[in-house]
């Protein structure tokens, strides 16, 4: 097989001509392939995207954002005063352009999804109304027979919470009629209000965040999000759930119409223990941690990979971010090479660290060993690997796509992905094997970006257990180069990333994209450039980044939708 990926050099030239390269030559607005996070921050990734500051275009248009399954469950629990939620079985949706947060504003619900909403909501409402104390907390009064005033009060209070805004007059009338019709059909007041609650929660006004903005500002073609929409945006961003009464009061008072009021509420949310839920959702989405539970692994090769260990792998990454971003308010870039991590007994055993029980405790990796930071966590390494062995190419692609926002397309059509086995049959190291990617010019254009980076992690097997020799007993050489800088192994690569402007810009872009739920346009790129600069200047702290983001134009401004 002469050709590896492309039938001819002419084909390769055509490939470059249509812009499917690995050098960041796809524009910032193009979206990315699956698993690629954001598109590159321009010009090969170094520095920010070039945006003409005098002409940054318009903010993105308003949109419907469907609650994901976790947000749905958490919101139901809050609204219905539930205790520890039994996760409701409702349809979740795939990512779009690499993020579920964007899938939320692009994908449609299916027939099955609508059925599952009905079943889950009725089960939750039935349980809540069966408990007199919870029913009183939801409805607010308990008359013996239908009572207009009580029903109105219920709609004004519970309805506003459920829809994250007050009901309009025609909506109030519609729901009063539902209650009255139920009563006429023989329902008790409790059952009539239960039906009303069920409808309020099955309504698109609950299941989607309706974020369309108010009337355009004077002299502008764009508007601000309404106070209630802003309350919703803040609450789902920071707590991954529906706004609490304090946020809704702030919206009602008009204080969320100005940056100072938004910042005040954001500060409150960010300081709460519930901010963990918002951060976890962000990290899950950006890092693709769901895959920890779905990844196929050969149980003969990895007998120790139990469901509880999979969960522990995910938890470690979340705790690592919670610690630096929320608990310590430290430098976010530390996650790339920190010695500090969190393990329970089962995960500790994988790392050779003694811990007891299922709870997680903070531990330090010894400085002289090679494991340090996010990239050497079991979750990140194992998810990228194959069923039975490591995949340096995938590990490298993850670093490039998700952590430095480089654009790495998948192999195009008609390429031969077969690497011929070594002559003579003697085993060769993965590094030698992958060198054939780099020998062939058509393969090299992408693989020189991925393979050397991924080979830094060869000291960790397909479920991240440390090793000094590969499965064929051959020595491992984890040294290499990334973007012109050399590293001796995974630990030094982590340090390079911690110091990397590109990784910092990429982190900013990931957070921004997650928060906004759409692929950035040039207006957003201008915001991201500003944010990345202030993130750098402010000690690279998560709280600084998100506080600057929520009081900025990108979070506040919206283009009216065209009907």
């Amino acid at each position: 097989m002469k050709n590896k990926w492309l039938p001819s050099s002419a084909g390769f030239a055509a490939l470059l001509a249509i812009g499917v390269g690995c050098t960041g030559d796809i524009g910032p607005n193009a979206g990315g392939p699956p698993g690629s996070m954001p598109t590159p921050p321009g010009g090969g990734g170094a520095g920010g995207t070039t945006v003409d500051p005098m002409n940054i275009g318009d903010p993105a248009a308003g949109q419907l954002r469907r609650l994901n399954a976790a947000q749905f469950g958490r919101s139901l629990q809050d609204l219905l005063h539930g205790s520890a939620a039994t996760p409701a079985v409702v349809e979740d949706f795939p990512a779009n352009s690499g993020l579920k947060a964007i899938g939320a504003s692009t994908n449609s619900v299916t027939q099955l999804g609508v059925e599952q909403y009905e079943t889950a909501i009725n089960a939750a409402v039935d349980a809540a109304f069966a408990d007199p104390a919870r029913r009183m907390a939801i409805v607010g009064c308990a008359p013996a027979a239908w009572d207009d005033a009580c029903a109105q009060m219920f709609l004004q209070n519970f309805g506003t919470s459920a829809w994250r805004r007050p009901l309009a007059a025609d909506e109030l009338a519609r729901y009063m009629k539902l209650g009255q019709d139920e009563t006429a059909a023989g329902a008790t007041f409790a059952d009539a209000t239960k039906a009303m609650a069920s409808a309020l929660l099955q309504s698109p006004n609950f299941l989607y965040r309706v974020e369309l903005g108010s009337a355009p500002l004077a002299g502008k073609n764009f508007s601000h999000y309404t106070g209630y929409e802003t309350a919703t945006r803040l609450s789902f961003l920071f707590w991954s759930t529906t706004p609490d009464t304090q946020l809704l009061s702030a919206a009602k008072s008009g204080s969320l119409d100005a940056p100072a009021g938004i910042a005040k509420e954001a500060q409150r949310l960010l300081s709460s223990p519930r901010a963990v839920d918002g951060l976890d959702e962000l990290i899950d989405d950006v890092m693709g941690l769901d895959a920890v539970f779905l990844m196929a692994k050969d149980p003969k090769v990895y007998p120790q990979l139990t469901p509880t260990l999979r969960q522990a792998m995910r938890t470690e990454v979340l705790k690592m971010f919670e610690d630096v971003a929320l608990t310590r308010d430290g430098d976010m870039m530390e996650v790339f090479d920190t010695n500090k991590t969190f393990v329970n007994q089962e995960l500790g055993k994988l790392y050779g660290i003694t811990a007891t029980g299922t709870d997680f405790t903070a531990v330090q990796h010894a400085a002289e060993q090679p494991r340090a930071g996010l990239l050497t966590t079991a979750a990140i390494l194992t998810v990228q690997d194959k069923v039975y062995q490591t995949s340096p190419t995938r590990r490298g692609a993850f670093v490039r796509r998700v952590l430095t926002c480089d654009h790495i397309p998948d192999p195009p059509a008609g390429v031969n992905t077969n690497i011929d086995p070594p002559a003579g049959g003697a085993p060769i190291s993965r590094k030698q094997l992958l060198s054939s990617h780099v020998k062939d010019a058509s393969c090299a254009v992408c693989h020189t970006m991925m393979d050397p980076v991924g080979l830094a992690f060869e000291n960790f097997d397909g479920m991240s257990v440390y090793r000094t020799k590969d499965e064929n007993g051959l020595a491992i050489d984890p040294s290499g180069m990334m973007d012109g800088k050399s590293f001796a192994g995974a630990r030094e690569l982590g340090t390079l990333l911690r110091q990397s402007t590109k990784a910092r810009d990429c982190l900013t872009r990931n957070v921004y994209r997650f928060a906004m739920g759409h692929v950035e346009n040039s207006y957003d790129d201008a915001q991201i450039n500003k944010l990345s600069a202030s993130f750098a200047a402010g000690g690279q702290k998560f709280k600084t980044l998100v506080m600057n983001m929520i009081s900025g134009d990108g979070f506040m401004n919206v283009l009216p939708t065209k009907n």
Binding site: V20, A30, P33, P34, G35, S36, G62, L64, V89, P94, N96, S97, G98, T106, N107, S108, V109, T110, L112, V114, E118, N122, R174, A195, S198, A199, Q202, S203, P204, N205, Y208, V210, L212, G288, L294, M295, A296, K297, D298, P307, V383, Q384, D385, K386, V387, S391, R394, F398, P411, P412, A413, G414, T417, N418, I419, D420, V519, T561, K562, N563
Partner: protein, 452 residues
């Protein structure tokens, strides 16, 4: 009362058998026998038997030299290829179409391939979603009538590319950006299609009336909201609205005991999805889904289904055959020579497909059987994995749609547009279209030589 689900015990109960990799598939079938005319060719009231359409989709394509029969023609004129032999027990219902290809250039094959083969359109470049409805939804609009489940999507192997995101996970989309993920949990499918309360009593009329009033209120909310939205969000909300309407229609026909379908106490036969099965392909899961789909067709609560055996770029764990390597990365991409290991895995998948075809063929439907009266379009995400090829795309039509197809045929074409198959299908189901597909996927003619 538009539904034709039989509510009374039927006089005839057929017990049908098929072998599923050692597992016995037994489908006790209350068919619409009591409602048919004496010849079994139509309903007693004169309406024709319903047409059915299915898709059987698997991941990772074929090995072309092992797939393409060396001779073409009808009956004894063609000789089945090695990879088609699993389907030879349904040979008289079998049509192989080879030489078709995807005409879209560029893009990622695992996305472009299914988009072309199932929707006749390109995959969106940025978001990697379908840009047009897949053929199951197109044909459903033509033949679903008032069946309560206009389309049904079920899956067997969830194994996917680790860390590759979600967008290669489905083969059905009801429109642009409207992915329909298959249901992998057979218990959930059983309950959804045939769910009956444990005490055998249906829901009370009162509770059904309440559900209807609640959904009416929700529908009115959706209508009011729609007016404020941009075009894309309008389309999304319309999908939601349509599904509410379907649910309301179904509620209108509920109540009373349902007799068609598996018995209420048989839920144990339909295993729930295994949260962490390391991607293993389970024969029981395949057999359970085959049964449920067969019941759904036979009870006429569904006429259009997608049986997603695997995902595009599937990382099927083939430990069941003693294969420990990654079937996609290491076997499909890397196995040298004529890929005997990959072939053994493919033969296993095709034998699981055979279980579906045989079960349908063994299930009476009117005077014939379900397979004769249906058409199952079988395809994958690409042809040859090692080169990510989109020429020589694997395509089969199994079934004869009540005699509209000749069957027992291999049609060989020279690089024809795969959309011609979709064009043919849509017109077979009464679409009466003069073109199908968009862009490089648009065609204005079909494949006449397969028609009886």
């Amino acid at each position: 009362m538009a539904f034709s689900i039989p509510r009374k015990p039927l006089s005839r109960r057929a017990v049908l058998r098929g072998m599923a990799g050692g597992a016995l598939v037994t489908v006790g079938l209350p068919r619409l026998g009591a409602m048919l005319n004496t010849n079994g060719t139509a309903y007693a009231a004169g309406q024709p038997l319903p047409k059915r359409f299915g898709i059987w989709f698997w991941g990772n394509g074929i090995i072309p030299p092992r797939w393409i029969p060396t001779t073409a023609g009808i009956g004894t004129a063609w000789t089945p290829s090695e990879q088609m032999t699993p389907f030879m027990s349904v040979r008289k219902n079998f049509t192989a179409l080879t030489g078709f290809e995807v005409k879209f250039a560029g893009g990622v094959v695992h996305h472009i391939g299914p988009a072309a083969a199932l929707s006749g359109s390109a995959h969106s470049a940025g978001a990697l979603n379908y840009t047009a409805p897949t053929i199951d939804h197109v044909i459903s609009k033509l033949i679903a009538g008032s069946t309560p489940f206009p389309t049904l999507q079920v899956g067997v192997s969830r194994a996917t590319a680790n860390g590759q995101g979600d967008t290669v996970n489905y083969a059905s989309s009801s429109g642009p950006n409207a992915p329909v993920l298959p249901e992998y949990d057979a218990t959930a499918v059983f309950k959804r299609l045939f769910g009956k309360p444990a005490d055998g009593a249906g829901p009370s009329a009162k509770s059904l009336a309440t559900r209807k009033r609640v959904l009416d209120t929700v529908s009115a909310d959706a209508t009011a909201l729609r007016a404020k939205l941009g075009a894309d969000d309008k389309r999304r909300l319309d999908q939601h609205f349509d599904s509410i309407q379907l649910l309301e229609k179904r509620i209108a026909t509920m109540g009373g005991a349902t007799t068609c379908g598996p018995s209420a106490d048989s839920v144990a036969k339909y295993p729930p999805v295994v949260a962490d099965n390391n991607g293993l392909v389970a024969p029981e899961q395949n057999s359970a889904m085959v049964e449920l789909v067969t019941y759904a067709l036979s009870c006429d609560i569904n006429r259009v289904f997608l049986f997603q055996h695997g995902r595009p770029a599937a990382h099927y764990n083939m430990g069941v055959l003693g294969i420990t390597k990654d079937i996609h990365d290491d076997i499909s991409h890397m196995e040298a020579g004529d890929q005997p290991i990959l072939n053994s895995a493919m033969m296993y998948w095709f034998n699981q497909g055979r279980v579906l075809m045989e079960t349908l063929q063994n299930t009476p439907d009117g005077a014939g059987n379900l397979l004769e009266n249906s058409l199952i379009y079988c395809t994958s995400d690409l042809s040859f994995g090692r080169t990510h090829s989109t020429d020589e795309f694997p395509t089969l039509l199994i079934g004869r749609l009540g005699g509209l197809l000749k069957g027992d045929q291999h049609v060989r074409v020279n690089k024809d547009n795969i959309s011609k198959i979709l064009f043919t299908l849509v017109n077979l189901y009464g679409g009466n279209v003069s073109s199908f597909g968009t862009g490089a996927g648009m065609v204005t003619s079909g494949i006449s030589e397969i028609l009886a």
